[in-house]
């Protein structure tokens, strides 16, 4: 028989370990059929996992040249952007990756909600998924500060100031988070370690557990939880297809499309690097990343002590979805219209808050008319004679701490 390196390694291992059960488990799992209702929407999880791997790859490359100190962080990001070969592209891909991953995570979550995938016996898979969403948002929160430019610095000041309004524990929580009384060098050190060590460890562990649970329970069927779940043969009889190669091919195609889209964004719209952080001057128009805009806008309408507790509360309510709000045995979306309607309305409110946050303190032209959106997001029509002047946020006469 002709010598082959893979066969040789396998034989070497087989002499020392009992590999057959491992191979059998792999074979069983890879060929496990997926139900016929599994469509392209079911590739979102795999695409998400692939983009997280890309993010890990670009993140490790950025770590090599990044220096996490207040004196050097900004210059090191400048160095990555302008001096290191392809540094701008790696940074751009990492930056865009963070946005695309949040979009995909939310779409994946929406898909699971629509198909009732969180219902018994998959509540734990759902819980781990919600925890993963929190980890992904944590990456966004801690990574935002790292470029140490004005927007990063002041966005973090606002975001870390909010928890201080919680009675008793708030101020100390904030000081622990930022390592002092104001965002400075210790904050950068803490955020960096959380961003590059603690969150990746949490992410890898949770992704592993999530995948394990998905493979254990299989893809959620559309039948109710009060009916026994179909076995492999039943799924095949109803028109299901084996995971390998059918669904794997679909996953692969979706992953390549996503990576293509990510790299196109990275190439065509590299992120801006503003001025170096100045703790004495807050620039105008400080806004957080788009996915924190709903929380940012909410803080303008309600007392901070209330507003700051809403985002974690939303995550907790999501976690409790299968236990408190959607306890019927039905999985099919058509039989859960009321629950889906309520969740859709909640999502619309969050989206509206985000939109108002985006529009607030800006001048926009809609259908040929120009509006100044005030701090609360209310539109004020601008007379034709005034158009061309400065929007309200860039009024004349701002002195110290004013326009950069």
């Amino acid at each position: 028989m002709k010598w082959h390196p893979i066969t040789a390694v396998r034989e070497w291992l087989e002499v020392r370990f009992e590999l057959e059960p491992v191979f059998r488990l792999l074979r069983e799992n890879l060929t496990k059929p997926v139900p016929p209702h599994v469509n392209w929407l079911f590739t979102l999880g795999s695409v998400l996992a692939a983009l997280l791997a890309v993010q890990l790859f670009t993140g490790v490359l950025l770590m090599i040249s990044y220096k996490p100190s207040g004196q050097e962080a900004f210059q090191s990001v400048q160095h990555i952007t302008y001096d290191v070969p392809l540094g701008w592209l790696i940074r751009s891909a990492h930056n865009w990756g963070s946005h695309v991953i949040v979009v995909l995570a939310l779409l994946h979550l929406a898909r699971v909600v629509v198909y009732g995938g969180y219902k018994k016996p998959r509540e734990l898979t759902w819980g781990v998924g919600v925890a993963l969403l929190a980890v992904i948002l944590g990456f966004g929160f801690t990574g935002y500060l790292l470029p140490w430019d004005q927007v990063a610095y002041w966005g973090t000041v606002v975001a870390t100031e909010a928890p201080a309004s919680i009675p008793v524990v708030g101020p100390l929580t904030r000081e622990f988070m930022i390592g002092g009384t104001e965002v400075a060098d210790p904050t950068l050190g803490r955020f960096y370690v959380v961003h590059v060590i603690l969150l990746p460890l949490a992410l890898l562990s949770l992704v592993g557990l999530h995948l394990l649970l998905i493979r254990y329970h299989g893809i959620s069927p559309l039948s109710g939880t009060d009916q026994p779940e179909p076995g492999s043969e039943e799924i095949l009889r109803r028109g299901g297809r084996p995971f390998l190669p059918h669904h794997v091919l679909k996953d692969s195609a979706a992953i390549y499309v996503a990576i293509g889209a990510l790299m196109s964004l990275a190439l065509l719209a590299p992120p801006h690097l503003g001025e170096m952080a100045d703790p004495l001057v807050t620039p105008l128009g400080i806004k957080p990343e788009w996915y924190f805009l709903p929380a940012y806008q909410l803080l303008k309408y309600v007392p901070e002590v209330v507003g700051v507790q809403v985002p974690p509360l939303v995550l907790v309510l999501l976690l409790l979805l299968p236990f408190l709000f959607d306890r019927s045995p039905h999985r099919h979306p058509r039989r859960r219209l009321r629950v889906l309607g309520a969740l859709g309305a909640a999502a619309a409110v969050i989206g509206l808050l985000g939109l108002l946050g985006h529009l607030s303190d800006t001048r926009q032209t809609l259908l040929g008319k120009t509006y100044d959106f005030d701090v609360l997001g209310r539109p004020h029509l601008v007379e034709a004679a005034e158009v061309g002047g400065d929007p309200p946020q860039a009024e004349e006469g701002r002195g110290a701490g004013g326009s950069p």
Partner: protein, 144 residues
């Protein structure tokens, strides 16, 4: 009985070990003081700030032992206010056109006495004593 005692000791040992690590980490991570400079001299990015370079109706922000302070020239008088917005910690600025102290983050407005004119801030900015000296602007608590 002996087994239970041994188990209790082992359990306590394990908890103590964890507690030791957690305590050391807590001490290491305990937040230190940051931000305020040691003196009452108002410091800008490039050194002490001088009242002489401050034009009429102009404001400037610096650091002192009282934190970040906004100083505004009003004729011969210097007005001093705490510069950190009481809403979410952004640095306020003096707008000579509106004659108001404004926060660029969420739009809070204050008057020259630090009183809130427009939310979302609820608490006023603290007023501070400001004096112009040869070395630069010095700040202190009002009436101090």
């Amino acid at each position: 009985m002996r087994r239970r005692v041994v188990n209790a000791f082992l359990g306590m040992g394990f908890v103590s070990t964890l507690g030791g690590f957690a305590g050391a980490a807590l001490a290491y991570l305990w937040p230190g003081a940051s931000g305020a400079s040691g003196s009452n001299l108002l410091m800008g990015k490039d050194g002490p700030l001088s009242a002489a370079t401050l034009a009429q109706d102009e404001g400037v922000v610096g650091r002192s032992n009282l934190g970040k302070v906004l100083v505004i020239r009003r004729g011969e008088r210097l007005v001093g206010l705490q510069a950190t917005c009481t809403h979410l910690g952004c640095i306020v600025a003096w707008n000579s056109a509106t004659q108001q102290v404004e926060c660029p983050c969420h739009g809070a407005r204050y008057d020259l006495q630090g009183r809130v004119l427009r939310g979302p801030a609820r608490e006023p900015l603290a007023q501070l004593q400001v004096t112009a000296g040869d070395e630069g602007i010095r700040v202190g608590p009002l009436g101090g």
